[in-house]
C-alpha cells in the first residue's frame, strides 16, 4: 500500500494497455490483416471508433463495408436491429455501390441535419435507441466531451459508432475505443492505429485496395 508505484497504478487515470484483455468479441472487419491488430479480432462492437481522414475518399468506406454488409444482412437471420444510420454524410452514399458491397438497402437510414449540434444529437439518439447496429457520423465538431457521450450512447444501445473526423483532431483527447488514421499517398493507403483499447498502436499499408484497381 505504501509502495508509491502500487499507489500510482491504482490511480484510475493510469491506463495500462497491456494488462487489459479485450472483454469482447470483435466484429470481423473483413480484412484479416487488420483483424490481427485489433483486440478481439475485429472492430470494437459496442463502442466508438474514430477514423481520421485528410480527404474523403481515402478508402474509409471500403474499410467498413464488409462489416456493415454482414450487419445489414444479419437482420434476415433473426438479428432484429440491423439498421445502419448515416448521419451527415458529405456526399450521397450511392445505393448501386452499396448493393454491390452487399448492403441491404432496406436497412439504410440517412439523416441530413442542418447543424453540427443536430448531427451529434441525431447520432446519440440513433445509438441509444438500440435499433441501429451501426451509426456512421461525419462531424468536425466532435470534442472529448461529445466523444464521451457517443461512447456512452454506443454502450447503452449496444451499437457500433463510427465517427469520421478531420486529421487535425489527432491532437485532441478522445473517449473512443479505437482511433485510426487513414492517409493516402502515391504508394497507396496507410492505416495507423493510433489508439486501441486493449491493443497497441500499429501501422499497416494498403489494407484496403491492396489488390489495386487497375
Amino acid at each position: 500500500m505504501d509502495d508509491p508505484i502500487e499507489k500510482l497504478l491504482k490511480n484510475p487515470r493510469v491506463w495500462r494497455g497491456r494488462s487489459a484483455a479485450p472483454g469482447w468479441q470483435g466484429l470481423a472487419s473483413g480484412y484479416p490483416r487488420l483483424d490481427r491488430y485489433l483486440p478481439g479480432g475485429g472492430w470494437p462492437p459496442h463502442a466508438l471508433t474514430e477514423i481520421l481522414l485528410a480527404e474523403h475518399g481515402a478508402g474509409e468506406l471500403e474499410l467498413l463495408m464488409p462489416a456493415l454488409a454482414r450487419m445489414s444482412r444479419a437482420a434476415d437471420d433473426g438479428d432484429a436491429a440491423g439498421w445502419i444510420a448515416w448521419i451527415a454524410p458529405p456526399f450521397h452514399p450511392y445505393p448501386p455501390a452499396l448493393v454491390q458491397w452487399g448492403i441491404d438497402l432496406s436497412r439504410v437510414l440517412i439523416v441530413r441535419p442542418k447543424t453540427a449540434t443536430e448531427a451529434l444529437w441525431a447520432a446519440e439518439q440513433a445509438l441509444s435507441s438500440g435499433n441501429c447496429r451501426a451509426v456512421l457520423l461525419w462531424s468536425d465538431a466532435l470534442d472529448s466531451a461529445t466523444s464521451r457521450r457517443l461512447q456512452l450512447a454506443a454502450e447503452r444501445g449496444r451499437s457500433w459508432a463510427v465517427a469520421f473526423r478531420p486529421l487535425d483532431a489527432q491532437s485532441e483527447a478522445t473517449a473512443a475505443a479505437l482511433r485510426i488514421r487513414l492517409t493516402n499517398s502515391r504508394e497507396g493507403t496507410e492505416l495507423s492505429i493510433l489508439k486501441s483499447r486493449g491493443g497497441r498502436p500499429a501501422t499497416l499499408r494498403n489494407v484496403v485496395r491492396d489488390s489495386g484497381v487497375g
Binding site: F91, L105, V213
Partner: protein, 558 residues
Amino acid sequence: MSSSDKSPAESQGAAPTPAAVASVHAVPRAAQQTLSLPPVEDARRQPAASGIERKLWLGVHLPKLSLEALCRRNETAAWAVFDEQRGMRRILDANAHARAAGIVAGLSINAALSLSPALNLAARSPSREALVMNRLAVWAAQFTSLVSIESRDVLLLEIAGSLRLFDGIPSIRQQVGRGLEEKGLTAMVAIAPTPLASVWLAKSGRGQCIDDPARLAGSLGPVPLNRLDWPDSVVELLRGMGVTTIGDCLRLPRQGFARRCGARFLNELDRALGRLPDPRESHRAPERFCAECELDEEESDRELLLPVCRELLQKLERFLRTRQIQIQRVKFSFFHLQTQVTHLTLGCVQAGQSIEHWFDLLRIKLDRIELAAPVIAICLKGGPSQPSSTATGSLLLDGSGRSKTNAASITSLIERLSARMGDAAVHGVVTIAEHRPQRAWRPARLLDEAPRCATSSGFWNEREMPGLLNEIQRTNSLLLRRPLWLLDVPEPLATKDNRPLYHGQLSLVNGPERLESGWWDDEGIARDYFVARSEDGLHVWVYRDRGSSAWYLHGIFG
C-alpha cells in the same frame, strides 16, 4: 289499448279504403291462430303499441344526394353524376341545366356527351355523400336528441319530445324544411309514428304527416313497393302476382307472403305498422378531445411547462382508452397574455402510441420553437380519431413477430429524428433500374413499408431469390465498379494536356464505360466514365462529356 277501442279508430283513420284496412287486420288475426310463422303476439304488441303513442318520426329523404353532394344546386353549368354499373358508365342524376339538354338518368356518358359536349361529369362519391349525411345529422341534433342515419340518403329524427318546444308539428316541419333548403338539398320530409313508415312515406314522395298510429295502414297502403329498397327479385315476384303497393301486400295471407318473399319483408311490414318494436340508434358525432389547463402564473421555463403538458396528455390517454379510439395528431396551443397563440402540432405515423411517445415528440419540438412570451394557459386538442386496433401477437416467437416489434421501435426513432429536423432530412434509399448514375437511385420514405422491395429490384422479390440476386450483383460489381460517394452535381475539372486534374494529374485506371441514355426526356446524357487515380492515391469516378469534351468529377471511391 284493447282491440275493442281500436276498431273504431281504425275504420275512422282508414276512411278512404275501409275494405283494405279491414282485411289487413283480418288476415293476421286469422293467421295467428293457425300458423307457426312469426306470429305477432298480443303481449308483444302492447308495449310496441304504447310506444307508438310516444314516438313520432320525421323522415328526411334526399333523392338528389349523389348530385348535390358534388355540385351546388344553383350551379349555372350543366352537371351530371355518373356511376359505373357492370362496366358501363351511366348517368345517375343530372341538374336542371343538364336535363334541359336532354340528359336523363340511365344514359351512357358517351351518349350524354354527344348530347351536350359542355356537360360537366363527376363520378359518384359515396364518401362525399356520407360526409353530407354526417353533417346533416349533426345539424339535425338541434331539433331532437335522437337523430339516426337510416341509410345512404335517409335521415330520421324522433320529434315527439320536441313538439312543445318547437310549437307543434307544422312548425318543426317547416323549420327542418327551411334548414334543408338553405343547405341546398332537395329533400322529401314525412312524419309518421314508426321510423319505417316515415322513411317509406318520404321515399314515396308524398310529404305526408301522420300523427295517429291508427291511420298508418291507410296512409301506407298506396305506397308503391318499388320505393322500399326491397330487392328487385321480390318486387318483380310480387308484381307478377298483381301486388304493387304496400296495401296489396297487407291483404295477402301472412304465411304465404312470408314463404314466398321471405320472413324479413313480413317483419318489415310489421315494424312499419308498429306491430313490432323498431328501435333506432342515435347518431353520435365523432368526439374530439380538448382539454385546457390554466397556469397559476405566467411561465416561460419550458421545463416547468412540460409537466403540465404531461398531465394533459394523460387526460388524453384516458379519454382515448375509454372510447377505444386512437389518434394520429394532437395540437398543443400555448396562450400568452399579450401576443398571439403559439400552436404546436405533433403527428405520428402509428396511431395508438402511448403518451410517452407523444411526450418525447413534444419535448423535442418544444425545444425548437420560439415562445413569444410567457405562457398563461395550455390547451391540448386531439385530431380525428379512428377505432383503435390492437394487433394480436404471434403465439410462437417466429422471425416475423420479432421484426414487427423492431419495426415499431425504429419508427419511433425515425419520428423523433424527423420531428426535430424535418421529414426531408431523414430518409432511406432505393435503387432504380436506370443507366444514368444520377437517376439510378432516389431517397425513399422510410415509414411506408410496401414499396421498398418492389422498387429495389425490378420484377422479382429480393427476399425470394437472394442467392441469384447476390450472384448477379457480384458479377455486376466485377464488371462495373461504382463509387460509394456520388456528388450531387458533377464537378467540372480543369484539364492539362487533355488530361483531367484533381489533386494533381489524374491517371485513368479503368474505362471507358460509355453511358448514353435518356434521349427521351430532357436529361439525356452521353458520357464516357473512367475510374481514375489521383497523384495522392485517391480513387475517383470521372467522366468526359461526349458533347463538350469537358471532364467532370462524379464520384469518389470512399
